[in-house]
Symmetry: none
Subunit: 154 residues, 2 copies
DNA sequence: ATAGCTAAGGTCAGTAAAAGTCAAAAAGGA
DNA sequence: TCCTTTTTGACTTTTACTGACCTTAGCTAT
């Protein structure tokens, strides 16, 4: 139930929360040692849990003195939040990214927990797949954008 | 009278009763071993005895470190009304009926105005028609029920 | 300068470990 | 008997993890 990827995710998010800046810098090999895993697992965690859809931006540099920088994008500093969110969603969005975006909206206090759950339910993979075997990601994007617009307007 | 499904049901309900939280997490394969049955029997038990209508909500994750989480909804007398409304939705619902149902939920103070707007947006005709010219009413019913059930949590 | 070494991080495909689906077979019950 | 519920298992999908091989950046000795 607590797989390594979840532990790494939590660790990085705690670092971010404790940091005074909006980003952190880590070393891939350090993390791999700390969590007794292969280095490439760090990349796995980054792509599955720190994607743009989840509200993060990852930069890195190789070579000696290399690093991985994880930036937490601040939603509340966006000039036009609705447009930006719709751009992030795009024409198609995976369930994982949708979940990340919704929980982010909740963390940033744009929506309540109940509202987050409502939105999750509407774009849930099982819900959508029941009706549309294919193109679930497109449908999810359409519904998610409609909800984002409705709740952030006003 | 003592079939395996009943035993599994009782076991899970005892776990829930003994738990300090309102949910439990189990592993499907563990249960299958414990009760000497095939893993898919667990799914059978979940769908026949732990549905929303029975007052439960089931989430799960696949892959290594996967789990099944069973949430017990604490239902008050008002929950019956919600479940009835959910049953009324059925397999298919028109936009105007959906709107009626949503405003009813709001009038009965089950949901806030913002939540009502959110739900309206998700099942809006234009939104759904964009993606599915046909079967829009079926899709609307599926999404609406998922959202209605979600408000039973919390 | 620069060739070459070293120390980072990246990619990708393959394997393993879960849970899900579906329909057929078996068992019960009225 | 006939219908419903339970049980089974073959096949699928999703998620996590691993390792071999690749790329990039800095450093150092010539």
């Amino acid at each position: 139930m607590d797989n390594i990827s979840d532990l790494i995710e939590r660790y990085l998010k705690k670092l971010l929360a404790d940091s005074s800046k909006e980003y952190i810098e880590v070393q891939r090999s350090d993390l791999a040692v700390r969590f007794s895993c292969v280095p490439s697992q760090i990349n796995y965690v980054l792509t599955t849990r720190f994607s743009a859809g989840h509200g993060y931006f990852v930069e890195s540099r190789r070579g000696s003195g290399g690093y991985i920088r994880i930036v937490k994008l601040q939603l509340d500093q966006r000039a036009d939040l609705i447009l930006d969110l719709c751009a992030i969603v795009g024409d198609s969005i995976s369930q994982s990214d949708a979940e990340g975006l919704i929980s982010r909206l909740h963390e940033e206090k744009f929506i309540s927990l109940r509202e987050a759950r409502l939105m999750q339910a509407a774009v849930d993979g099982n819900t959508l797949r029941l009706s549309m075997p294919v193109r679930g990601d497109q449908l999810r994007a359409i519904i998610l954008k409609a909800m984002v617009i409705s709740i952030l307007r006003s």
